[in-house]
């Protein structure tokens, strides 16, 4: 064999080895806000702890600007990302509008939103006639808060509401006296309680089954890259296992501190909130509960975002990658 051919073969082999060593590239779309919030924990932990590398994935987070969870499915269609983090209502909306995107794994089932009030307000019923700072009326937070009020005998019309986007802005409204109560995510709810504000209830009391955020991919892309998708799902499942593993608690707390820029003590309390046994805030290993998807669809219908007949939850989900990854 001519020397040139041998050299060429060696060069090709070396190239292939280098590609394998670096792993298969997977571009994961993430909204900027999610990147800096607790909702990126499962993926951020998998990345920090080398779970993607272990699966032979060269994992790359891509943040589209301008961003927002309502634009993440578009990121799949314009080739910005291969898979993406997305809030389930936006996946449903995009799919109904013709996208072939589906959920391939769950990231967060049921976010914990705390209804926090001024110290002198002792219970939810005492909010009658008072001002509650609400999130976007069509979003998951407002849905769950309306349910929580109803659980305690209040209709939304019994309170004065004002729409305030973002937990930091709602906390400012509470602190400034413009709101008597507000729903807060983490870590601000923990901080507010430390400042003397009172916890009246949490969203999970009223909405026990939900599917807040998922990893989505286009059916066509996922089918053509099924092995890579299965590896991704396996790494994500391992991350959920790590979040619940007491032996790995320091690593998980360190990840929360890094992501959300809070003190370790606050990060510990946030972790306790999410990893509490029996609370289904996080999936066990990325599994998708169709009842959670159905709840999302029902909430969207309640808000007039979709009209009957309501679509089946299964339309927005492809469980085959979870099955192949060994997730039940």
């Amino acid at each position: 064999m001519p020397v040139a051919k041998v050299l060429a073969a060696l060069a090709l082999g070396a190239g292939a080895c280098a590609t394998w060593a670096e792993g298969l590239v997977l571009r994961y779309g993430q909204a900027l806000s999610a990147h800096k919030s607790i909702y990126s924990l499962p993926v951020a932990l998998a990345e920090r702890e080398g779970l993607f590398r272990r699966e032979g994935i060269d994992f790359r987070v891509v943040i589209p600007i301008p961003g927002g969870t309502d634009r993440m499915i578009q990121a799949l269609h314009d080739d910005t990302a291969d898979v993406t983090h997305v809030a389930t209502p936006f996946l449903v909306r995009a799919a109904l509008a013709g996208s072939d995107a589906v959920a391939i794994a769950a990231e967060f089932n049921d976010p914990v939103y705390s209804l926090v009030a001024r110290p002198e307000i002792a219970r939810i019923a005492d909010l009658k006639g008072r001002t509650v700072g609400m999130a976007d009326p069509g979003g998951s937070i407002a849905f769950s808060m309306r349910k929580l009020l109803a659980l305690h005998g209040l209709r939304e019309s019994d309170v004065r509401t004002k729409t305030i986007d973002g937990t930091p802005a709602r906390l400012s409204c509470l602190r400034g006296g413009g709101c008597d109560a507000v729903p807060l995510g983490q870590p601000q709810d923990v901080l507010a309680q430390a400042e003397g504000y009172r916890l009246l209830g949490i969203s999970n009391e009223a909405v026990p089954e939900y599917l807040y955020t998922v990893t989505a991919a286009r059916r066509s892309w996922a089918s053509a890259n099924s092995d890579l998708v299965v590896r991704y799902v396996r790494a994500l499942a391992a991350s959920f296992g790590m979040i619940r593993d007491p032996a790995r608690r320091p690593a998980v707390v360190a990840a929360i501190v890094d992501i959300t820029a809070v003190a370790p003590g606050i990060a510990e309390r946030v972790l306790d909130l999410y990893a509490q046994p029996g609370r289904k805030a996080l999936p066990l290993s990325g599994e998708i509960d169709p009842k959670g998807v159905a709840q999302v669809i029902a909430f969207m219908a309640d808000a007039g975002q979709i009209q009957p007949p309501l679509p089946a939850a299964e339309r927005f989900v492809d469980l085959s990658y979870l099955v192949r990854a060994g997730v039940r």
């Binding site: 806000s33 589209p64 600007i65 969870t69 937990t167």
Partner: protein, 130 residues
Amino acid sequence: MKSAIRLVLLAVALLPAAVLAGANRDRGQDEVGPGPDEGPSYFGVVLDAAGKPVEDARVTATSRDGLAMTTRSNAAGAYHLPGFNKRINADEVKISCAKPGYRQMRVVRRPAPTGRPVRAVETECRLQKS
């Protein structure tokens, strides 16, 4: 023309953080505004070989560990990307631009003013028709 483009870029770079945060707002999922740990933002312009603005080019800022932010240039060829976490060294962030039918010629980083903290990093990205 060049000075006009630079004026536009300067205006973009000096937009208040709140306005830029508004442009990046999340609807439906809770927001986190730009935090105190945010590093310098990235802005600049995409031009073709003749120095004309290139609209709708994809501009990507990639940190050393692979985290990427991506946006599209506007009609003036201008783009703006928010800062990464302060822990990410801005000198190690690579800016690239791409558009179907073009190939990247070069990326020139404008020197930052000396003696002051860097609030924004300016680059000019040149594309050539392929």
